[in-house]
């Protein structure tokens, strides 16, 4: 098992780590106790490259109160090369340049000392 804290501690150091089911090979973003695909609880870890392509995106223009100062900003659903997906903020990509299928690479989002979060920048 990998806790959320451990996942983001790794992310801070530049590494993304998924869970890999030893029974069926399914990958999962932690935390997860039982494998959704096979129902077993037999995990190992698998490093993620952090590289993927944008499978959907939006530009948030009306933001929640605590993110209002950052708006407008883009959020993308990114399918990583390993097949799992992560949601992340897009950074260092002009909003009008974002396209479906665009290659992107993981980086850490840390906004005004807020909690760590996933971001993606240009590949």
């Amino acid at each position: 098992m990998i806790s959320i804290k451990e996942f983001f501690d790794g992310a801070r150091a530049g590494t993304l780590t998924a869970l890999k089911c030893r029974q069926c090979g399914e990958l999962a973003i932690p935390p997860r106790e039982f494998c959704v695909a096979c129902g077993k609880r037999d995990w190992t870890t698998a490093p993620l490259s952090g590289e993927g392509r944008v499978t959907s995106f939006t530009v948030i223009r009306v933001a929640p109160r605590r993110h209002a100062a950052a708006a407008p900003y883009a959020i993308a659903h990114v399918t990583l090369t390993e097949g799992v997906a992560l949601l992340g903020r897009l950074v260092d990509i002009p909003l009008e340049r974002v396209t479906l299928g665009m290659p992107v690479r993981f980086r850490l989002l840390s906004e005004n000392g807020g909690p760590p979060a996933i971001a993606f920048g240009p590949a």
Binding site: R65, R66, Y73
Partner: protein, 383 residues
């Protein structure tokens, strides 16, 4: 299991109110009890829906509060929270209490008050229904969630912004016919397309409003319902869930949780999509109505946008969807929405919907979605 019927419904005007959510619910419940011709002392329990009251009203323990304001403080009651599907989840559990033989008369309802806070605040509170560690930290909003669905649906099926706008135009046209609706004015495709972007590609008029309001329905056992002239039977009430996190969903163009809940409901009722005469479904955003009509089996996957554009979901169309005006025009007081949708279908099946009546409707479907497409309730009602 025993048969269960709806014998009374009540809904407040939707919009801005200077009353607490408990007061709004109690007002709707008074109407529902009068409609059911049931004395308050005959009610054996209350299943209550509310979502963001702990933020907007700084209030927990809302079940006893609502029951107390209504004047039935001693009955068992619990608040249900399933994001925007809360009072439909409450409805399903109330149905099971009667079906199992525990009670004969149960009150279900919900209420929400959000227009007493700013849009930035309510946007944040609604976002609490997405994951705190993975999604809220990104600044994801509910329009943002459905914008991701819209973009995926447009890419996969060629759905257009004009087709999405057609949903808003249709629901506003229906809302004109509903005196309880928050918006009773028609809008045009051009107005939708020129409204400001909220979360690309969704614009202001693709989004339902923030709303205050309450709704209540009275459920009864067959024995009680047989003594009422206008009982409407609960043919099925099913729930399904899906991964909480959007990153665990591999194909955002589909909402499999709707497909699962619908399949379970059709199976329970022994019905198919072709049997459905009228639908109230969860159009929190225009794209949400399009994907719901597909997930419920009313239209083939990828054709929900075409159905909206062709008028197949309008009053007078193949399958009228959201004759009440839907969340878009009727309004979306999130804790009350599911119960209010049930109230509309009951009104339709009784033939009491006036100018928005679907002629001869005998089977109706209610669909309510909660959170990041993680919860769906589908109930089927019939005469």
């Amino acid at each position: 299991m025993r048969r269960v019927a709806v014998i009374g419904v009540g809904v407040t005007k939707f919009g801005k109110h200077e009353r607490t959510s408990a007061e709004l619910f109690a007002s709707a419940a008074v109407d529902a009890l009068a409609d059911a011709e049931i004395e308050p002392r005959a009610v054996q329990s209350l299943y209550y829906g509310n979502v963001v009251g702990s933020e907007t009203e700084k209030q927990l323990h809302m079940g006893p509060q609502a029951a107390s304001v209504l004047g039935v403080p001693t009955i068992p009651t619990t608040r249900f929270e399933a994001a925007c599907a809360s009072s439909h989840a409450a409805f399903r559990h109330a149905v099971m209490e009667i079906a199992s033989g525990v009670s004969d008369v149960v009150l279900v309802g919900g209420a929400e008050r959000v227009l007493n806070v700013t849009t930035e605040e309510s946007t944040e509170y609604f976002a609490y229904a997405s994951d705190a560690m993975w999604e809220q930290t990104l600044g994801l909003t509910f329009p943002g969630v459905f914008a991701l669905v819209a973009r995926a649906h447009m890419a996969k099926h060629g759905t257009t912004a004009e087709q999405m706008a057609a949903v808003a135009v249709k629901n506003h046209r229906h809302g004109v016919l509903n005196p309880k609706a928050q918006f009773q004015k028609e809008i045009t495709i051009e107005q939708v397309m020129k409204s400001p972007l909220i979360a690309d590609p969704l614009r202001l008029y693709d989004c339902c409003p923030f709303t205050d309001g309450g709704a209540a329905v009275v459920l009864a056992s067959e024995e009680v319902a047989r003594t009422r002239k206008r009982a409407v039977w609960v043919l099925a009430s099913a729930a399904a869930s899906d991964h909480m996190l959007l990153h665990d969903k591999r194909d955002l163009s589909r909402v499999p949780v709707t497909e699962r809940a619908a399949a379970a409901a059709y199976r329970q009722a022994g019905k198919t999509p072709a049997d459905v005469d009228v639908v109230e479904l969860h159009d929190c955003f225009t794209i949400a109505e399009i994907v719901a009509t597909e997930g419920l089996g009313l239209f083939e996957p990828g054709t929900g946008g075409i159905a909206a554009e062709k008028g197949w979901t309008s009053l007078g169309g193949k399958v009228p969807v959201n004759p009440s005006g839907g969340l878009k025009a009727k309004g979306h007081p999130i804790g009350a929405t599911g119960a209010s949708q049930v109230a509309e279908i009951v009104t339709q099946l009784r033939g009491e919907a006036g100018p928005r009546q679907v002629d001869g409707a005998s089977t109706g479907l209610v669909h309510t979605l909660g959170g990041n497409t993680a919860t769906v309730l589908v109930s089927l009602l019939g005469t």
